[in-house]
Symmetry: none
Subunit: 298 residues, 2 copies
Amino acid sequence: MTKPLRDRLTEALQTASKADRALANYMLSDMGTLPFETAASLAAKVAVSEPTVGRFCRSIGYDGFKDLKQNLKNDMGDQPWLIGDRLRDLQQRTKAGEDQLTRGLELEMAALVAVYEAAHSPEWHDTVTRLATAKHVFAAGFQTERGMAQIFVNQLQYIREGVHLLDLAAGNFAEILAMEGNDAALVIFEARRYSRHARMLAEDAKAAGIPVTLITDPYCDWGHAVSNEMFVVPTAVNLFWESTAQMASLANLLVNAVFMELGPEVEERMNKFARLHGRFTGHVGDATPKRGEGRRTT
Amino acid sequence: MTKPLRDRLTEALQTASKADRALANYMLSDMGTLPFETAASLAAKVAVSEPTVGRFCRSIGYDGFKDLKQNLKNDMGDQPWLIGDRLRDLQQRTKAGEDQLTRGLELEMAALVAVYEAAHSPEWHDTVTRLATAKHVFAAGFQTERGMAQIFVNQLQYIREGVHLLDLAAGNFAEILAMEGNDAALVIFEARRYSRHARMLAEDAKAAGIPVTLITDPYCDWGHAVSNEMFVVPTAVNLFWESTAQMASLANLLVNAVFMELGPEVEERMNKFARLHGRFTGHVGDATPKRGEGRRTT
DNA sequence: GACTATTTGTAAGTTTTCTTTCTAACTGGC
DNA sequence: GCCAGTTAGAAAGAAAACTTACAAATAGTC
């Protein structure tokens, strides 16, 4: 899939024969319904024969009509900024070689689009206001999603207080479940195979009246029942396992939205954080200890 | 045939059986790709059998999966669902003005492209072979990048042993710096403002003969001097602060590459891991304790 | 804990969808 | 008008998508 379908079709309009031109034209004008067509149904609509459809698809570089449909799935179209030279370069390489990686790029981009769409949903707004106003915010993630929760917490801590990463070090989730009152929000990151803890935590939190926001992959069938909002991040990326990487983007957008909600007063807090980090850890470029100096001596 | 698919699916979520629920859920969360699926491909994704898909479709009032797809065409109405159209739709909002978010999407996509480019560099290959062969692999990240390191470690642990997350809990990095021999690799995730620790750690590791792979944002000017390879992830995303989210994707690609290098024998290890997790934690759907049962009583 | 009812998967059909092969029709050049 | 070269269709074959029938597994009931 080096070039978007639309380009190939437009090209074909110039050069191809009558039947092919008719096909190209129809496809261009009704791309939205293409996935619902079969080679036969298309042939009927354009009044050509079935083999012609197959041949045409092959003539513009696909394997057949079926292959064309598959490619349409991730076809971003001709977004000018997307089709920059660098992306084209990458795609060239794909063509040249064995590289199934670039295929993953398309899928990951689609996931990213889905994430940004989620950020426009009504649920999103609910989550954000809650995360901005609740007295306590808890986040949890298990197995490989632990780090996601960690990232989320670290970032959110910069802009508000009362943010905690839940873990099972103590053997229970008393921190949140035995909490006084329930002015809290819980965010759970999870992807299959789902840790039993994630579900249990969500169930108990809901039972305790604590709102739950669930961030999962599309395979989580128990989520709806135990969450107030559920954001689904596509994870199929063509690698040997699924990639939850784009959850990080979603977490980031969430934090950003909370920031917008809280307004600029939080900057003070952020500065305080930076100062504190500077005091106990120091940033690169901060004065004092350089290599070979003070830090060697306790 | 009167009700839209979405409603029927949501209904099914409540009432239906386990397999049906899984199907309903998946369809709901990934409706955009439904037209591209076949009963078989869907079945594979949701891990049910092909006839189950057909039966489910019939149970919610269609004639079969094919019929469901046909109806979907109408149900979808005018909302965009081709990924290219969705993207365009998002961009429209930016133009309309009510939303500066989508500009971020473009930038984030560019970052993704950069990440995938990095995965084609010669340095990449060096890093991967080292991560596959070194006796020990250490990863570190500070402040908000701590979670990135965590993710990387958690994933890599699934496919090889001797993977450790470094932190400063003990007040030093003796674990790696005072190690016997130096058959190790160190991966550091960092973004500004850079924690002093990151640089110190890199310096000392290099001095100790341990190869350092650095994953940073584009502003890190001290990195080249103290690393063997340096991968730069663009982080400018138009939000109130930079986003390192795409580092997660890079980490993921790295792990995937190491997996490819190690070959399929690692699957055994992965299965062992899953079993262990099952034993000590349990996955959703594993037998035993259900809500209201055993787990309440210690 | 055995028994029924429901749910789900396997294996073998059936139908649909796509491709291949071959032939007919059209195009342009002489 | 006749002849290469191209283009398109019909028919048959291959592959896939889907269904049916039945058996195994699971859940619910007494």
